[in-house]
Symmetry: C2
Subunit: 113 residues, 2 copies
Amino acid sequence: MRGKDDKAEFLKGTLDMLILKVTALGPIHGYAISQRIQQISRDFFQVQQGSLYPALHRLEDRGWLAAAWKETETGREAKFYTLTRKGRKQLEAEIRHWARLSDAVALILRTAE
Amino acid sequence: MRGKDDKAEFLKGTLDMLILKVTALGPIHGYAISQRIQQISRDFFQVQQGSLYPALHRLEDRGWLAAAWKETETGREAKFYTLTRKGRKQLEAEIRHWARLSDAVALILRTAE
DNA sequence: TCGTATAGGTAGAACAACTATGTGTAGGCT
DNA sequence: AGCCTACACATAGTTGTTCTACCTATACGA
């Protein structure tokens, strides 16, 4: 069941940016974040729970996300995460960095043999 | 001196692909690989020697690069690395993976707020 | 003679993501 | 009643890449 073709792992460092981006769309709880990332990426990314929750705590510790317990639409308790002002700045910085990085990679991959 | 604006670190996993790509252009020694990557990426990537040599040994161990001591144009002994057939396949796989991954990231970053 | 560039390398720390495992509720199937 | 899946949170321990910091040695120019 695992290892279908490629295992779609994250490049270390991208997960934080993607989580911040998804929370920028509105308050959302952890489990839904992983579903969203999977859906939007058309099943390319599958966020393991052992990656998700440590990442959320990390982002909260850094003051980029704020957490609060609320009820979901299905009546269950869940921790909803909101992007802080600091987190928004961080997200913008990470997006800029990603753009420059992927441009640099493209430059190298584009060099003819 | 370090930490000018962004420190241009590698996303873990990209360095191997970039090294393979540079060796695909022809036999080249380690030190020159790091120069090439820096030049082609317009100084975005700076390959530290503590990243470079472990990576080269890793790639050689996996059979993706073959090494041989030769003389440089300046008359010094250096280890020249050549991409093996297996390494070329690996490079192609990594490029495909990178394309899909950066597409998936773009999908998420593109979602409107 | 001293510093820089070239050329190779290792040791140890940091850190993120993974696998595996745990808790507990709710709902559906047999 | 028993079992499975989905939902929702979480931690422990391992793996692997990259980093900083350090080491050797040659060649060249100031």
